[in-house]
């Protein structure tokens, strides 16, 4: 073993992780600055409520996305039924819908003053709301439904990638040994896909914890809403950072608990035999059930809200379609592609760095570096502001003192700042999915490649990346779509006169003008979905052993 490459991976990984950790550390630093004590007040008033509501929200959204995501992923990867090839990518569509946008749409449809309830009242002659029961959309249940509808694709994507990368031999073995399709799913396929599913669900839960728009609109008192309340209404950023740090700690405990639960288990595939996926042919009732099960999330998570937004867009076309609209779309697209590419590169680098150099320090560093996703966006943005401000003003101060010239702010308020913020926030997605996927590649592969004289880099390029290609593409796609929707970091960190589709939506939505925002909201979905579909097809093709002409 030579020293040089070992140091390269280690030092590189440590440096990258360190830079990414800085803004998170800044949030903790802000939490430590003196401020009014908020804990006694909160504990005696709304803290139990915040915690209770947040836990219910997490459990609801977690279970909902788990069932829908894994269920549909299994159906489209392993079974044949009408519409399967359509659902493969259509199930991804809701992913590009910002949760708060579909919250607005469904409120319009389902509230007391909306068309559904008016129709009910007219049909059955009810006079007031006391005459009948109808679920309240602006409620905890409503928030759970909205978030489940747009977040399940994360679980779907990662489980599908996992199922797709799974060696079919183990499934065949299970069937040969007498287990039926259901028991094979629950006792073989599901446990093998666990790391990927866990990553998917934890991404969903972190998105849930992060959500501001939906819970604010529904006035559901979550912990995150409490953070913003302390920050903005009580003008206490340190108190807000303390709450955010507590939230972060909670997430770390959750992650550690899950890791502890599967501590000694290994998930790499014992066989490298990749036959074409079986494509169990569903018949009769199960065929119809499968089609219906896959249609429901697509219908309610995408088709219906897209139709409503489309209707609004036509009405408000002139207002929305100003000359700058295309440049906003261009900004969104370029920035999202850039960050997706960087996140994949850094994700592979870090995940592989940990693999080749299994050191405690490295592991802790990369773990910390993927915590940005668990900090509410605006709070993380403040962490980025503080970090870049300190760097910029430090350089400026040094240059002023030494050379008598001011360099001003080099990074703050530039595209670099926005890109950096996105990376800090979304690295968890790429790193998490790539690491989960790498875990499935047996170390025997590394050993074989290395003993044949390949360097770690060549091994990565020629052995690992081809094997984990589906997960890498999936990760890039998720980061891309998340960047398209991203709002708080963009708003707070952006340069002068810089707009994205999401900030354009925000301008109008924040003034209660959803109609004017619809075209941009729809464009986020449109631009976001295009690469999703393309990549989705690429993932199907990327399965090792995939062969179009294979006999099914």
């Amino acid at each position: 073993m030579s020293w040089s490459w070992l140091n390269g991976w280690t030092i590189g990984t440590v440096i990258v992780a360190f830079i990414v950790i800085l803004p998170i550390a800044a949030v903790i630093f802000i939490a430590l600055t003196p401020s009014d004590d908020i804990w006694a007040h909160l504990a005696s008033t709304v803290l139990p409520l915040y915690i209770g509501t947040t836990l219910q929200l997490m459990i609801g959204v977690g279970l909902g996305t788990l069932v829908i995501g894994v269920g549909t992923a299994w159906l489209v990867s392993m079974c044949r039924f009408p519409g399967k090839t359509l659902f493969e990518w259509a199930l991804l569509l809701p992913m590009a819908m910002p949760a708060y946008v579909i919250a607005y749409v469904y409120t319009d449809i389902l509230e007391y003053a909306g068309p559904v309830q008016i129709l009910l009242r007219d049909t059955f002659g009810f006079a007031t709301k006391r005459d009948y029961w109808f679920p309240e959309i602006r409620s905890l249940g409503g928030a759970i439904s909205m978030m489940t509808l747009v977040l399940y694709p994360y679980v779907y994507l990662l489980s599908r990638a996992a199922f797709t990368e799974q060696s079919i031999s183990v499934l065949d073995a299970s069937r040969v040994l007498g287990r039926g399709p259901y028991r094979t799913f629950f006792s073989v396929a599901l446990p093998l896909a666990r790391p990927a599913i866990i990553i998917g669900v934890s991404l969903v839960l972190m998105e849930t914890l992060n959500d501001f728009g939906t819970v604010d609109f529904f006035a559901v008192s979550t912990f995150t809403l409490g953070i913003y309340d302390v920050w903005l209404n009580m003008n206490n950023v340190a108190g807000a950072a303390q709450l955010a740090t507590a939230l972060l700690f909670f997430v770390v405990v959750l992650v550690l608990a899950e890791r502890f639960a599967r501590r000694k288990k290994k998930y790499h595939h014992t066989s490298s035999k990749y036959d074409a996926l079986p494509g169990y042919l569903l018949t009769g009732r199960s065929k119809i059930l499968a089609t219906v099960a896959c249609s429901i999330p697509v219908l309610f998570g995408f088709v219906l809200p897209a139709l409503v937004l489309g209707g609004y867009s036509i009405i408000h076309f002139e207002t929305s379609m100003n000359s700058n609209f295309l440049s906003y779309a261009f900004n969104s697209f370029l920035l999202s592609s850039l960050v997706a590419g960087l996140a994949i590169g850094i994700g592979i680098f870090m995940a592989y760095g940990v693999r080749v150099r299994n050191e405690r320090l490295l592991k802790i560093m990369v773990r910390l570096a993927s915590l940005g996703y668990a900090v509410p966006g605006s709070v993380l943005a403040v962490g980025v502001l503080v970090t870049l401000g300190a760097v910029d003003n430090g350089i400026d101060g040094f240059m002023r003192d030494t050379f008598g010239v001011s360099t001003g702010l080099l990074l703050s308020g530039t595209i670099v700042a926005v890109t950096f913020g996105y990376l800090v926030r979304f690295l968890a997605i790429s790193f998490g999915s790539i690491e989960a996927s790498l875990a499935k590649v047996t170390p025997n592969m590394d050993d074989a490649s290395r003993s044949l004289g390949h360097s770690p880099f060549a091994t990565l390029r020629r052995v690992h990346i081809p094997l984990i290609r589906a997960s890498v593409l999936t990760a890039g796609m998720m980061v891309f779509v998340d960047c398209m929707k991203e709002l708080p970091l963009t708003v707070i960190l952006r340069p002068f006169n810089f707009h994205t589709l999401a900030t354009f939506v925000h301008e109008y939505a924040s003034d209660e003008q959803l109609g004017e925002a619809s075209l941009a909201a729809l464009s986020i979905v449109g631009f976001g979905i295009l690469p999703v579909i393309i990549l989705s097809l690429a993932i199907t093709r990327s399965r090792p052993g995939h062969n179009k002409d294979a006999v099914k």
Binding site: E111, F217, Y228, P495, D511
Partner: protein, 346 residues
């Protein structure tokens, strides 16, 4: 994969270069850099008019949450010259954080009444908006609701719709009640209103009027300009019906007056274009800009003598709560705590 990463490398390099060029390029003389928490679609017509008149270019970031933290982090090198906020509370926080500088301008002193600007010129009010009661035209009798206090009275049980108690407009209203009547009375009021709610607080100011129109409740709290925006909404004409179902009640006309909120501006301490920034504020308080605020967004101009929108004028004149605005703003933390204590939203 290979081709893809090549593309990203190119994009990244191009972006970084562009950003660096952007950062290092010297600012041309006639520019003002603005951080605004007022929406661009609202402000842009005003800024365009300013640029047309003076030739000074205005650069803007629309930022609400985190404006204070951004200014603080950027420190003495912050490029911002001027901030615009939709709410005096936020402006006051910037002043308290030492981020604003005092200015004096004869034009501004002439355009803005003394109670709508900081005595040392740390902030200037640009428009005011009243937080009024919207009441159903038939279901609410003339003398049933005349004050904010009436909303907490037993006869309003189950008849009130309101947005989240934590929204800055409601926090600001509660802060004004603390200023006028003290903490205990304000808490009793918040509890009383909560007990009278027809539904859990939710939605925005317009959604409450929509609920009144549909019969879910009889009265709501809202800012005046939303009434104008609903009543003239050609794009979504059903909003006209919502607006037509309610009348505006200016509360507390016989005592302290109706609570108003100020949108304002302030010059940052780091400003390198102070003269231009002051000129912009002067322009925003001038006849042309004040008329745009009044006609385009149904707000009350600060400059005496500027005509109101005909519809706003038709609501009649009202007595505003004259409590020192910065005192009210300083009660917002307490107001938030009271909302927590009565669990207003739950």
């Amino acid at each position: 994969m290979k081709r893809l990463s090549g593309f990203y490398t190119t994009v990244f390099a191009a972006t970084v270069t562009a950003a660096l060029v952007g950062a290092l390029a010297p600012a041309s003389a006639a520019e003002v850099n603005l951080y605004s928490s007022r929406q661009p679609f609202l402000i842009n017509p005003l800024l365009d008019a300013f640029t047309k008149e003076t030739g000074t270019k205005v650069n803007m970031v629309y930022i609400k949450k985190g404006m204070l933290e951004r200014l603080k982090a950027e420190g003495r090198n912050s490029p911002a010259d001027l901030v615009l906020t939709s709410d005096l509370g936020n402006l006051n926080n910037l002043v308290d954080a030492g981020l604003m500088q005092s200015t004096s301008s004869a034009v501004l002193e002439a355009n803005i009444p003394a109670n709508l600007r900081h005595p040392d010129g740390l902030w200037y009010g640009l428009t005011t908006r009243a937080r009024v009661i919207f009441a159903h035209k038939d279901r609410v009798k003339a003398d049933e609701v005349t004050t904010y206090e009436d909303l907490a009275a037993p006869h309003m049980k189950g008849r009130i719709c309101v947005r989240s108690g934590k929204h800055e407009y409601n926090i600001s209203l509660l802060a004004s009640i603390i200023t006028a009547k003290g903490e205990a009375a304000a808490e009793a009021w918040a509890q009383g209103v909560k007990n009278n709610l027809a539904r859990k607080p939710q939605g925005n100011d317009r959604a409450q009027v929509k609920a009144i129109y549909q019969g879910e409740c009889d009265v709501s709290l809202g800012n005046t300009y939303y009434m104008g925006k609903m009543a003239t909404n050609e794009k979504d004409p059903v909003q006209k019906k919502w607006a037509a179902s309610v009348r505006i009640i200016f509360p507390n006309q016989k005592d302290r007056g109706t609570h108003i909120n100020i949108s304002g501006a302030g010059i940052t301490k780091s400003s390198l274009n102070k003269a231009e920034a002051v000129k912009l504020v002067e322009f925003l308080t001038g006849d042309q800009a004040q008329a745009i605020y009044a006609q385009g967004n149904f707000e009350y101009p600060v400059k005496p003598g500027v005509a109101l929108h005909p519809m706003v004028a038709s609501w009649g004149t009202f007595k505003a709560d004259e409590a020192l605005m910065s005192n009210v703003a300083s009660q917002r933390t307490l107001a938030t705590r009271i909302m927590d204590r009565v669990r207003f939203d739950n």
